[in-house]
């Protein structure tokens, strides 16, 4: 077809099914995610987006289906397994502590240490230096590494969280609605961050229900609707209107959209 088919997917989700008792949350969803690409996962509330990314990040186990990372079938028991396989999630509820400095947050749980007289100490200089470096790369200018995260804007915090995940070796980065609570300018900052991360060869899975945000950075688009997917479209292969229609479950929205003058 094109160059994409020659590339090997970093992660492939094959025919994922998840049922909660009688409720079918996912009825066989398959996607392939390639390194260096931003794969947008769109869908309305209740479409199964959350359940799907939870299976990918090891939070829930699929009832059926295979997760293939780098050609190997994986069986994630918990989020830690997924993280070790290079799959990192930046949650809506960020793993950031407002009262702590950016560098202490950045290295939280992965603190660098140095040995002095046989005792392990926190290597603050190294942490500060690497944090400033990583922040500069992402275009955030800190007053200093000891600036508290609480003083950063929502978009900057997202960026810190994203660059932290990348710094600690994420190959697949799952962003769960990173722009949903942000203003216009902060959103554009986060989208710029996604672009930078993608250029470093990281695969980004960008969950959103905002078509415009998706089209701004996405390379591929998969729409989930009622636990199923209608296939994956490539950049330029689909119009915003078509995406919107797919998300809303087809034609019902068309009449509504007409009466609202195309504002949705």
């Amino acid at each position: 077809m094109n160059a994409q088919t020659e590339k090997k997917p970093i992660i492939e989700m094959r025919n994922i099914r998840k049922t909660y008792g009688p409720v079918i949350a996912l009825a066989g969803v398959s996607i392939k995610i390639y390194p260096g690409e931003c794969h947008c996962l769109l869908g309305d509330n209740g479409a199964g987006k959350s359940t799907f990314i939870k299976t990918m990040s090891g939070v829930v186990k699929p009832t059926e289906g295979d997760i293939i990372v780098d050609g190997n079938v994986q069986n994630f028991e918990n989020p830690r397994d997924a993280m070790e396989a290079g799959i990192s999630t930046v949650h809506q509820h960020l793993a950031m502590i407002p009262l702590m400095s950016v560098s202490r947050n950045f290295f939280l749980g992965n603190e660098p240490t140095k040995k002095i007289a046989g005792i392990q100490f926190y290597d603050r200089e190294k942490a500060d230096h690497e944090t400033m470096e990583a922040m500069r790369k992402m275009g955030i200018n800190l007053r200093g590494p000891d600036q508290a995260v609480g003083t950063l804007s929502g978009g900057e915090r997202q960026t810190v969280a994203i660059s932290r995940a990348v710094h600690f070796g994420a190959k697949v980065l799952i962003l769960d609605e990173p722009t949903s609570a942000l203003g216009v300018r902060q959103t554009s900052n986060v989208l710029a961050t996604i672009d930078k991360v993608r250029k470093e060869g990281v695969a980004v899975v960008f969950i959103t229900h905002n078509v415009r945000h998706a089209l701004a950075v996405g390379d591929r688009f998969t729409v989930l609707n009622r636990g199923t997917t209608h296939g994956t479209a490539e950049r330029g292969g689909i119009t915003p209107e078509a995406l919107q229609d797919l998300m809303a479950g087809g034609q019902e929205l068309a009449s509504l959209e007409g009466s609202l003058g195309g504002t949705v």
């Binding site: 407002p98 702590m100 202490r104 926190y122 007053r143």
Partner: protein
């Protein structure tokens, strides 16, 4: 995508003045308070003997007592929890040492070690109940405040038919572990200084010729040791980072892979350890254990920590600050005595300074997090 907004210094962020930067240090309140308190008492009681060797030793010992429990309370508060059972734990630990060492006649080192094990287990239990049930530590440790105090009265009454057990000093005579809590160091230096005439010597009585201060009590050594240990643990190790994170936002810390439950339970155990150190030094000094020992100590520890700049909500604070808070306490409590002021005013002072410190801390938190 334009990078205009993210590169270059944000024009809306004013340069932080050095004054505001200094305010963000948690110890600042403690430093200012310490200077103020010393200034006031040098003025009020400068010629009363408060700053003679004896006087200094007097308020240093009291400050050191506050410090020992403040270090534990400080680390625990930064980890996001309280321990209201500290005071009762002090009474309970002292009573256990007396019962094991005097009533049962066991060797003193065995009594002390066993007491430490029991008290730290109770500390762990406090933590475990808080973590497992998700109840606020305020309530869980309030329950232990009563449970431990009840046992502290019940045990000696049942066993010895009294609420004070004496004879501890005799029982600890020559005991290697007793010395570590009840002994003194640098005695040679003080005798030398006495001989030189640098410090006063007794002129009459059985101790004539000996210096009025004959060494530094181990209580002070423990206090300084715990402050240094706590400060290094908190600011220079990865565990310290976890303590801040556990108190700042436990959920976020868990998401980052911090073993929050373990950190909190360890801090409850450390608080219990500090309370037991306090109790052991106290019974070694007094030679007896009483059922009413340690009353209200939990609140004094918490106040010292808050004066030292820690936030009651956790995630922020300083051991050095807490130590300065304890120093302020000791100086004021003994200073009022030296200055001849009615000592009940100490409580008025406590209340006023607590209120002032909490208001200052709330303001500082807004500065750090940029809340409006």
């Amino acid at each position: 995508m334009s990078n205009e907004t993210t590169t270059g210094i944000d024009e809306r962020v004013n340069e932080m003045s050095s004054f505001r930067n200094a305010l963000i240090r948690p110890e600042l309140g403690g430093i200012i308070g310490t200077i103020a308190v010393f200034a006031v008492f040098i003025f009020l009681a400068g010629d009363s003997g408060m700053f003679s060797v004896q006087g200094v030793m007097n308020w240093s010992v009291v400050s050191a007592q506050f410090m020992i429990i403040a270090v534990g309370a400080c680390l625990l508060m930064i980890a996001g929890e309280f321990d209201l059972s500290v005071g009762s734990m002090i009474g309970f630990a002292g009573m256990l040492i007396a019962i094991f060492g005097v009533t049962f006649g066991w060797p003193m080192w065995m009594a002390i070690i066993l007491t430490f094990v029991i008290c730290m287990t109770i500390g762990a239990l406090n933590g475990l109940i808080c973590i497992r049930t998700g109840l606020p530590s305020f309530i869980v440790t309030l329950a232990f405040l009563f449970i431990l105090r009840g046992f502290t009265i019940f045990l000696p009454q049942t066993i010895e038919r009294k609420t004070i057990i004496g004879g501890i000093r005799e029982a600890a005579e020559g005991d290697w572990l007793g010395i570590i809590f009840g002994g003194k160091i640098l005695q040679g230096l003080f005798i030398y200084l006495g001989d030189l005439g640098v410090i006063a010597v007794f002129s009459r009585g059985t101790r004539a010729g000996q210096p009025v201060v004959d060494g530094i009590p181990m209580l002070i050594v423990w206090a300084l040791g715990l402050v240094i240990f706590g400060h290094i643990l908190l600011t220079k190790t990865r565990f310290g980072n976890w303590v801040f994170a556990s108190g700042g936002d436990a959920e976020a810390a868990r998401n980052s892979g911090v073993p929050v439950s373990k950190v909190k339970i360890l801090m409850f155990m450390f608080t219990a350890f500090c309370a037991t150190v306090f109790a052991t030094c106290q019974v070694m000094e007094f030679g007896s254990a009483g059922a009413d020992r340690g009353l209200l100590k939990e609140f004094e520890a918490i106040i010292a920590v808050v004066i030292g700049g820690a936030l009651l909500t956790g995630g922020y604070g300083s051991v050095i600050g807490a130590a300065l808070g304890a120093l302020i306490f000791g100086v004021v409590q003994q200073g009022l005595f030296f200055a001849g002021v009615e000592s009940s005013l100490f409580r008025v002072f406590l209340g006023v300074i607590l209120l002032g410190a909490v208001i200052l801390n709330t303001y500082i938190r807004r500065l750090i997090t940029g809340e409006r």
